[in-house]
Structures are given as C-alpha cells and as structure tokens.
C-alpha cells in the first residue's frame, strides 16, 4: 500500500517534470516578438477591402455567386456530416472504456479513430476523386469519412465522462450492454452528441481547403482564389456570407441542444 503510494508520487513527479521540460523546450526555441513596418499600410488595405465587401458578388444571374456557393457548401456539409454522424456511433461506442470492458476492442477502436484523424484530408480527397471523379460527391465522401475520426473520439470521451449511476440501474434490471447504453448513456450523451455533430457541420462548411482541392464547388474555391490574388472586397463578402451561415447553424444548434438538455 505505502509502496504503491510512493510509486504513484514518483510517477506524478515524472509526469510533471516531463510536461515542464516540454514547455521549457518549446518556449526556449522562440524568437522575440517584433512588429513590421509594412504592417500598418498592408493591414489597413486588407481591412479597408474587407469592410467594403463586393456586394455585386452576392447574386449573379450566371449562377456562380455567393448564394449558390453557400447553398452548395451547405448541401455538401449536411450530407458529409450526416454520414459521419451515423458512421461514428459504433466506433464511439466501442472506443469508450467504461462501456466496452474488453481493453483490446477499446484499443483497436481508438487506434482506428486516430488513424482516420491523421489521414490527411487531401489524401482522403484524392482517394475519392479516383473513385468517383472530382466534384461534390467526392467532397461529401471525403468530409463524411474524415469526420468520423473526430466525432468518434469526442463522443467516446464524452461517454467516458457520464454519470454512471443510471447505468447501474439498467444493469440491475438485466439489460445487456447495448440496452444499457441506449437507456442510461444515450440520454446523457445526446446533448454532447448534437453539439459535436453541429460543430462538425460548421467545420465542414468551412472546409474550404479540401473542397477547393476537390473542385467540389461550394464557397471554398472562390475564397481561396480571392485570397491568393488579394481581392479583399471579394474576401469580405464571402466572409460575411460564411459568418451569417455559421451563426444560423449556431442558433439552430443551441435550439436543438436545448431540447435535449
């Protein structure tokens, strides 16, 4: 007993020391902070552009305008999130160590989720482009599969944090793990689940880089183009569009969560 306590202290000490060392190493490598001369002129030019958005871009009868771009983005994001939202559930369930008692299963699932997360979006996109060609469909698949890693991880960790007393009650009635999960864990995790899924929806809407690479349309490509030729008025209006879109999602998200809290 006392010996193991000593061990615990030693381990804690080692961990603290390790963290400390990492921080010292990280900060030691930093150069000093200095401001640049050009900053005022360049930044005021950027801000001036952003604050006088290119209203003409909002609607264009030709079809490639902000509204259409946002609509495409929303469609891709919804579908991508939907796929991920469904597919992540079994992984999240099996990666939660308070639900799955089998350490190997938990480990394997956590590994799969980590693997999906480190798989770069662009390589994932490439895989799907080869399968279905560039376009929205590939975008949806890349977002849908890519998001499983994040959703699975966050949800499994929030499952690991729930209050287990209700779970006991279900176990006592003779429920198997799945039933226990549905009746005791799901109601508690649901608000978090929706919060994560809605967050992912938002991330997907902003996933300009991947969608731009894929040629999936949406608002990402024009944004990247505008940024790379420093067309700040255009950037301004697109940003405005995204902010409005994200705010709407945020409002819906809190409404949805309010239902479940």
């Amino acid at each position: 007993m006392t010996q193991s306590k000593g061990l615990v202290y030693i381990r804690r000490f080692v961990i603290v020391l390790a963290v400390l060392a990492i921080y010292i190493w990280a900060f030691a490598g930093l150069p000093t902070l200095e401001l640049k001369e050009t900053s005022i002129e360049v930044i005021s030019a950027i801000l001036a552009g952003i604050f006088s958005p290119d209203w003409g871009y909002v609607y264009d009868p030709g079809g490639e305008d902000l509204l259409r771009g946002l609509l495409d983005t929303v469609a891709i994001a919804i579908l991508g999130t939907f796929i991920a939202g469904i597919l992540c559930i079994p992984f999240a369930f099996m990666a939660a160590n308070n639900i799955m008692k089998n350490k190997a299963v938990v480990g394997i699932n956590k590994f799969i989720l980590s693997f999906i997360r480190v798989f770069p979006d662009i390589v994932l996109a490439l895989l799907f482009i080869k399968a279905v060609g560039p376009g929205e469909f590939a975008g949806v698949l890349a977002l849908g599969i890519g998001a499983i890693g994040m959703l699975g991880k966050l949800i499994s960790e929030s499952i690991e944090n729930v209050d287990l007393s209700a779970k006991e009650a279900l176990i006592a009635t003779g429920a198997n793990p799945i039933k226990t999960f549905i009746f005791a864990i799901v109601p508690q995790v649901l608000p978090n689940y929706f919060s994560f899924v809605m967050y992912r929806l938002e991330v997907n809407m902003r996933a300009a880089t991947v969608l731009g690479v894929i040629g999936a349309g949406g608002i990402g490509t024009p944004l990247i183009f505008a940024l790379s030729v420093r067309d700040w008025e255009r950037v301004g209006i697109i940003l405005l569009g995204i902010i409005v879109m994200v705010t709407i999602v945020d409002i819906i998200s809190s409404k949805v969560r309010a239902r479940f809290t």
Binding site: T38, I122, I129, G133, P134, V213, S228
Partner: protein, 298 residues
C-alpha cells in the same frame, strides 16, 4: 497503365462503353488548376462549359481545383478528360502516362522595366529575383549566403527556374543559401518588404498583386535577374482519348481564343489571352530543369 473506358457516367447510366476508345464520348470533363503567375483569377466554370459545349456539341463539365495532383490522379482513373496543368505538373503527369499536351495558353508579355504588360502574345513567362531597393545585392553572384524566399519545390517560377539560375552561377540553391518556403508569391514580396528575407523569387511581375495593398512596392524593390523562359500553362488530355476527339478539342479551344466573347471570358477567368497548339517537346526544357535541380536538391 490503367484501364480505359472513355466516358463519364454522372447520371448513373450503365458503363457499357468500356472497350471503346472514347470516340463516342457523351460528356467531356474538364478541370482547371490556376497557374501561379496570375494576378487576377475567378473560380468560375459555367461560362467555359457553355463555350466548349457549343463548340463540341456534347455536354461539358468544368470544375476548378486548387491542386494539380488531384487532376493528374483523376485523369489516371479516367475521371477527368481534359486538364489545365501548369508546366511542371504536366511533365510529372506525362511521366505517368496520365496526360498528353495539346495546347498552350498565351498571355501578353511583361515589360522587364516596369512590370506592365506588353502587347505581344507569348507562350512563356519568366521568373525574377527581386531585392529591396536599398539592398547592396546587385547580381546573382551577391546572393550567396543570403536569406531567400522560395515557393514549394514543385513550383516552376518559385523554385525550379530560380534554383537553376543560381546553380548556373555556382551557388547551391539550398546549401549556399538560407532558404525559407513561403506560400504565395504575394507573401514572398511582403516578406521581402518586411525585411524577413533578402531576396524573393517570383513570377514576373508579382508585384502587381501586392500593389493594391502596398503602393510603393515598385519603388522600394528592384529586380536583379530574370530566369530563362518558362512555358505557359498547358491544356492536356487523357492519352486514351481518340485522335479524332483530341483534334476536335484542340480546334475548339483555339476557336474560343479567337472569338471575341470567348477571349473575354478566358481572360477574366483564367487570365489567358488565347491558345496555340503545342507538343510534348516544348517541355523538354522543363524536364531538363527538373532533372538538374532535383538531382541537387533531393
């Protein structure tokens, strides 16, 4: 290398035409990757769809991508028929039997003195070494040991050509320099103005991109050297496409470049002024440079 199967079945039709060599193409898929040497760009696809569709008589699907690797892969899997590729990308794609050049884009040349456009159409551009006006660097020879802002190593204007120029002057582009990789030629120029780097390599003349944000950019910087010409963007097709079809596509693009309405569109969207036929040998120079530089760098 890979199977053929000419057409795209976006509408879910059965893929019956597997063995044919694309002569019965029902739809043409075109993808565009912006070249780095443009100072205006639009991410639009629809207008070109219409122009090309009218010329070819089959539906055309155009999309815009920001990364050439995906186009090449898509062409390898028969998902894209026509790609707009920058020169380096074309060479790499050709190595893998993924693409065959048919056309090169034309742009107006750039005045070496002040960066303004000339009225001569050319199918190549140059890259330049640029330093601050008050810098004591006068020529490429002075660059040794200086801090240089490159673009990604796959960039023709932002790395390969300038590196070759340095090598010609007896300077190793990485070991004899203090290299930084930057993203975007505009960032290179801003970093130069900031004093973060001593010399930037950009396409000619990237200062136009920054001029809107920083008025005095032309006064405060100085070009010390230009590189050899770099071939302009290509339009390439999948090799499996029938010669007949290739012919048609070539003609269609050249027509568009000549047509007044077409010209306006390709200028606005891709900053192209027109198209000329091209052949693979035009890109031997690219291969040569690639080889020369990559031997030293990798």
């Amino acid at each position: 290398a890979c199977g053929d199967g000419g057409s795209k079945e976006t509408d879910g039709e059965a893929s019956g035409s597997d063995s044919e060599e694309g002569d019965e193409m029902e739809e043409l898929t075109v993808q565009f990757v912006p070249s780095q040497n443009a100072d205006t760009l639009e991410a639009k696809a629809k207008p070109l769809e219409k122009l090309l569709g009218d010329e070819l008589g089959i539906p055309v699907k155009v999309s815009v991508s920001t990364d050439y690797n995906t186009i090449v892969e898509a062409m390898k899997s028969d998902k894209v028929d026509v790609g707009f590729l920058p020169p380096t990308a074309y060479v790499l794609a050709e190595e893998q039997d993924a693409a065959e050049v048919i056309i090169q884009a034309q742009r107006y040349g750039v005045n070496d003195e002040d960066g303004s456009p000339t009225d001569e159409l050319v199918d190549s551009y140059k890259s330049m070494f640029i330093v601050r006006e008050d810098s004591d660097i006068q020529s490429v020879e002075d660059l040794k040991g200086k801090k240089i802002g490159y673009q990604n190593v796959t960039s023709s204007a932002g790395f390969v050509w300038p590196a070759a120029t340095l090598m010609d002057a007896g300077i190793h582009p990485l070991e004899d320099m203090e290299p930084v990789t930057l993203k975007g030629h505009d960032q290179a120029i801003i970093s130069l103005l900031n004093g973060d780097i001593d010399v930037a390599v950009t396409f000619q003349d990237a200062r136009n991109v920054v001029a809107g944000d920083y008025e005095d950019v032309f006064e405060e910087t100085r070009v010390i050297e230009f590189t050899e010409p770099i071939p302009n963007d290509t339009i390439t097709v999948r090799p499996e496409i029938s010669d007949d079809m290739k012919e048609k596509i070539t003609k269609a693009f050249i027509e568009i470049g000549k047509d007044e309405e077409g010209q306006e569109i390709i200028r606005d969207i891709y900053s192209h002024e027109g198209y000329v036929e091209s052949q693979d040998s035009n890109f031997d120079i690219v291969r040569e440079y690639e080889e020369k530089v990559s031997k030293e760098v990798n």
